[in-house]
């Protein structure tokens, strides 16, 4: 199954992000945040560069305007001016209406372009003269002599150098910031993930010594603390279940040892009496009893583990069975019939009484007469286990001619199964542990006068010790309770209360 599934899940996870998935969380956080920072820094550098370029351009234009303005002012009032050359490093040219260059500090290659500038409208433009770029301002002052052309120019190379210098500085700064950011996010991710590493180390230690260890819950109320709390709860539950199972296995093997030892002895004795047919038959008969006891024990263990298993499944969301009162009543009667079969051999009588719930708007008294019957979270098999285990115990405990009374009634939102006998009861010290596994009121059961030799019941030390444990497990699985008490008049009363399904 894994082989068939793996490629599909690989495909699903595929795509361009896949190599990233192979990296550690720390590396992924660092790479991700650094990539985002890189984009932001790049955008910032571009915006700043654009801003600087436009600032430098407007500054140049202001300077060019300042270069040209004195000549324009003069020419607008004077038709034949006496023009003095501009200050140091200013490139200015004045062209008369006739096309004669009256004044020029321009290099020759720019002067060649002046002719064409006479026809361009006033304003700013960029011209290229033999490989160099010049930003020029053209003005056309007009006086009585005609339309003049004043041109102020600046080599934009200086501008470009400023912008380039700035771009370099910005880029280097950006790179430095990016590097610092990457290192910082690596350090931060490492710090943030440190509790995870600690938890991992703890879990590693835990797999070696799972009995005590717990994951550390940090002082902060963060996600990791709640994860640790959740995992600890899970661990505790698992540990509890494991402990319960371990205890069960240990108890069960202990319980199996005794009948197995007895059986071994019986078989040893039988092999010694190999020539005596009658003795051999007696040994075989006794061995059969031991085997019967072993198989009872095995069956009860299986029943108990099945109940616990289904309980686990229900906790995982499986639907609980629900059974109506009268169906459970039918099962009680059927189970009583089965108990009577064993009871009749000891001349023990088993009576029963069903008290149906008071029908709401029903057709009168009677089972199933009501419109809405109460339901309980138990299946008929569970009810059968309750009756046969409790009443079966009573049959074993009762002397010849005893009586058992089984009642199943519905009272105050509960279904009550009560099984009473008129036997010797149990020692008070047994009552608190009655429903625990592998406990038997052996003193009470075996010390009763004249155990009946014909049934062989007296020869066996009680049952598997699991009957009432199964009863409690069934009752609790149905959300109910199991209790028992000695009746003052003599005998034992076991009561199972099952809540109705609402």
């Amino acid at each position: 199954v894994n082989g068939a599934d793996a490629p599909r899940s690989d495909r699903r996870r595929g795509g361009p992000i896949r190599p990233l998935r192979l990296l550690s969380l720390r590396a992924r956080i660092t790479i991700g945040s650094t990539a985002i920072a890189a984009i932001v820094i790049l955008l910032l550098v571009l915006v700043m560069r654009f801003q600087v370029v436009s600032v430098v351009a407007s500054a140049t234009r202001t300077l060019l305007d300042a270069d040209a303005d004195p000549y324009v002012a003069t020419l607008e009032v004077d038709g034949d001016p006496d023009l003095s050359p501009p200050g140091n490093a200013q490139l200015v040219a004045v062209v008369s209406p006739s096309g004669e260059i009256v004044l020029s500090t321009m290099p020759d290659r720019v002067e060649q372009a002046l002719g064409s500038l006479r026809s361009t409208p006033a304003g700013t433009s960029i011209i290229t003269a033999s490989g160099s770029e010049y930003r020029v301002v053209v003005e056309h002052p007009v006086n009585e002599a005609g339309r003049w052309t004043v041109v102020a120019a600046r080599n934009s190379q200086a501008e470009a150098i400023v912008v380039d210098d700035l771009t370099t500085t910005l880029s280097l700064t950006g790179l430095a910031i990016l590097l610092a950011f990457g290192v910082a996010s690596w350090v931060l991710a490492t710090t943030a993930l440190r509790p995870v590493n600690r938890m991992r180390r703890e879990a590693e230690r835990l797999s070696v010594a799972p009995e005590r260890a717990e994951l550390p819950v940090g002082p902060a109320q963060d996600e990791l603390a709640s994860l640790a709390t959740t995992l600890n709860a899970f661990l505790a539950r698992t540990r509890q279940a494991t402990e319960r199972e371990r205890q069960m296995v240990s108890d069960a093997s202990h319980e199996l040892r005794t009948p197995l030892a007895i059986l071994t002895t019986q078989l040893d004795l039988a092999s010694l009496d190999g020539n005596d047919a009658a003795a051999l038959a007696a040994h075989i008969e006794r061995a059969k009893h031991s085997v019967a006891r072993l198989s009872r024990l095995a069956n009860d263990l299986l029943a108990l583990s099945r109940i616990e298993e289904s309980e686990r499944r229900e906790q995982d969301g499986d639907r609980r069975p629900e059974t109506a009162w009268s169906d459970l009543g039918d099962e009680v009667m059927a189970a009583v019939d089965r108990v009577r079969l064993i009871a009749s051999a000891k001349d023990v009588t088993v009576d029963f009484d069903l008290e149906p719930p008071v029908a709401v708007g029903g057709s009168g008294p009677g089972i199933g007469g009501g419109t809405v019957e109460p339901r309980y979270r138990i299946d008929t098999g569970g009810m059968a286990q309750l009756v046969t285990n409790i009443a079966g115990n009573a049959v074993a405990a009762l002397p010849r001619g005893g009586g058992i009374f089984v009642s199943w009634r519905s009272t105050g939102g509960e279904g009550v199964l009560q099984i009473t006998d008129d036997g010797p009861g149990v020692p008070e010290s047994f009552i608190p542990v009655a429903f625990d596994r592998f406990t038997r009121p052996d003193e009470a059961r075996t010390s009763r006068p004249n155990p009946d030799p014909s049934t062989g019941a007296g020869a066996l030390p009680g049952g598997s010790g699991l009957g009432l444990a199964i009863v409690r497990a069934v009752a609790e699985r149905a959300g109910g309770t199991a209790s028992l008490r000695n009746v003052p008049a003599g005998g034992l009363e076991v009561t199972i209360s099952l809540p109705e399904v609402r």
């Binding site: 009667m333 059927a334 009577r340 009749s344 051999a345 009588t349 009576d351 008294p365 007469g369």
Partner: protein, 94 residues
């Protein structure tokens, strides 16, 4: 006494009486041959399928369970023991 074979129910004087499956089978058997004797082997055969693991004492016990129920509900029928032969369902006052 009315026996509803289909629903496996017994009513006495119109009142439903709870009987176990085995009690029902036994009463139905006796009722089918009401007035005449049904012997033990026949009962064991019909009600308990002739099972080897049944104590013969069980028939007597079940007769007693049924009698208790019949008298408790003041039924107009009774189960008579015919010594050495078996049991018979009689109509009271007939």
């Amino acid at each position: 006494v009315s026996i509803d074979s289909e629903a496996r129910r017994i009513s006495i004087k119109g009142q439903r009486v709870a009987v176990s499956p085995t009690e029902f089978a036994l009463l139905r058997l006796l009722a089918r041959s009401a007035g005449s004797v049904v012997d033990r082997p026949k009962i064991l055969e019909e009600v308990w399928d002739g099972s080897q693991h049944v104590d013969p004492n069980v028939v007597e016990q079940y007769i007693s369970y049924l009698r208790k129920k019949l008298t408790a509900h003041e039924a107009t029928v009774a189960i008579a023991t015919v010594r050495g032969r078996g049991y018979r369902l009689d109509l009271l006052g007939a």
